[in-house]
């Protein structure tokens, strides 16, 4: 079957839903959201803990409640959404693009779209990506898989659980599984600082006296059919495991909370250039990729800490896609944004001059008393912001009010704050 749409949004999670509402609000009637799961809502449906929406709704909501706010909006506005519909391919074109989707209800459909919004979210890094030595027994899974098994399907996937990675997903699952009767042996973290929010260290670990081993790694996994134990080794200052000081922890389950990777398979197939650090698409300040008419937002663009910012970013993305559809697009030159001192990544990677730009960035390492400086090639200071503390786990978002015409490139860096 073939059809034409003005805008196709790939992904019905918080990013896709927010982009769709923004497209509709800007007057684009013909919007279609494609979601591969049976329900809209994305990963929020399994994030049953609270902490969402403090900025967006001024209320503390659980993940499913936050999702339902947007699902209600989308339904109220009568925006067409196909669930159980998996996009197989995107074929880029000049003026229009083709989206090939396999839908339980509609069959195999080729959709000819003026604009496409990539909002596919992330997948989790797995054991294979980080090469933990040892045998390959059952009982090793990502924290998100355990979350889905516990929260959606009602299974307890293990009883004596070790967790690698102190990011929020790992901490949240430490608490969740304890509440459901498991015993968490400990959380192992390779950095010398925890990856997740302080509040989660308190309410997920300290409340249950779960030990956290900073600057440690898991150097071996034992077990034939099922995990039997793991070796935990301290790391030296060069992050090398000191196996001679290893200790063994008996467990039947290992949860991995070791990072998220944007779900960029479709982007790669469509020939959309990716950023080497974020692993999401390269975009300009309108969140348009290097392929005109294909936009990107949410976790597939770069991993977020707060869904509130996903919504804000995705609404801006939808609004920009609407302008592209209504007014067309005159290719203007972009100038690059260079990463300076201590900057792990900055988004967008390129901007058009004569306009503002919202910069999203993360520092390489935690740092105290630093100033973010945004400068042009002529040395002009375009934006400055002082920080008492910065963390890689806390995204920084700053709006540069004006990038003057004629600027050739922009540099973003952290410098030590001047002591007054």
């Amino acid at each position: 079957m073939k059809m034409e749409k003005e805008a196709v949004v790939i992904g019905g999670g918080p990013a896709g839903l927010a982009a769709a509402t923004a497209l509709r609000k800007a007057g684009i009637e013909d919007v279609l959201v494609l979601e591969r799961e049976a329900d809209l809502g994305g990963i929020l449906l399994q994030c049953i803990h609270n902490g969402f929406g403090l900025h967006r709704f001024k209320e503390e909501l659980t993940g499913p409640e936050y999702a339902e706010r947007y699902i209600d909006l989308v339904q109220e506005q009568g925006i067409e959404c196909w669930t159980n519909s998996c996009v197989l391919d995107i074929i880029r074109g000049d003026m229009r693009h083709e989206v090939i989707v396999l839908s339980t209800e509609h069959g195999l459909v080729r959709i000819n779209a003026r604009a496409v919004v990539l909002a596919m979210g992330c997948r989790e890094r797995n054991r294979g990506n980080i090469n933990i030595p040892g045998s390959r027994p059952a009982g090793i899974m990502t924290a998100g898989t355990a979350q889905k098994l516990v929260n959606i399907f009602g299974y307890l996937p293990g009883r004596e659980v070790a967790i690698l990675g102190s990011g929020d997903i790992g901490l949240i699952m430490a608490r969740r599984m304890t509440w459901e009767g498991a015993h968490i042996k400990g959380v192992v973290e390779i950095q010398n600082y925890p990856g997740g929010l302080n509040r989660n260290i308190v309410q997920c670990l300290n409340d249950f006296h779960i030990p956290m081993y900073l600057s440690h790694t898991i150097s071996n996994i034992y077990g034939s059919r099922r995990v039997e134990s793991i070796d935990v080794s301290p790391l030296d200052h060069r992050m090398e495991p000191q196996q001679q000081d290893r200790f063994n922890v008996k467990c039947d389950t290992l949860l991995l909370s070791v990072g998220l990777i944007p779900e960029s398979e479709l982007s790669l197939r469509a020939g959309i250039p990716l950023d080497q650090v974020t692993k999401g698409a390269q975009v300009d300040q309108d969140l348009m990729t290097m392929v005109p008419g294909i936009f990107s937002c949410g976790n597939v663009l770069h991993v977020h800490d707060l869904v509130d910012w996903v919504s804000e970013e995705s609404e801006a993305c939808g609004a920009a896609a609407a302008i592209y559809i209504k007014e067309g697009w005159k290719p203007t030159e972009t100038i690059p944004i260079h990463k300076g001192n201590l900057v792990r990544y900055v988004l967008p990677g390129q901007v058009r001059t004569g306009r503002d730009a919202l910069l999203s960035l993360r520092p390489m390492v935690p740092a105290d008393k630093v100033t973010l400086r945004v400068t042009s090639d002529t040395g002009d200071l375009l934006h400055k912001k002082k920080f008492i503390k910065v963390f890689p786990s806390e995204m920084i978002r700053e709006r540069v009010k004006m990038i003057p015409e004629g600027t050739k490139f922009i540099q973003v860096s952290f410098e030590e704050s001047e002591v007054k």
């Binding site: 329900d39 803990h49 403090l54 409640e65 999702a67 929260n151 959606i152 509440w179 302080n198």
Partner: protein
Amino acid sequence: MNKELICINCPQGCPLQIEHDEKNIIAVAGNKCKRGITYAEHEIFNPVRMVTTTMRIDGASIPQIPIKTQSPVPRECTMGVIEQASKVRLTAPVKVGEVVLANVLNTGVDLLATRSLGEVVTA
């Protein structure tokens, strides 16, 4: 007496320095908003926590529905709340915000559904 705590009210996680005696808070420093002071008062004398868990549901597209305590309950009660919730079996449809268990463990706090699940009619 002095105590250092991290406020858990919002993702900021402000480190608090609290001065108190056996019955009263004398001073709180480090909070970025008023909720930090309320948190300090509770946490020293009567720690409370929100509980988010799931409940069994029949007749919906999935077997579990997410729920939460409407407001925080005493920290010692959290496992008891989970246990009470595990004894309840709901039937679809359930709407977000609906009370699924009232006054859990006599705390005066209700358990609410945090997701709407419709009834799935199987042919």
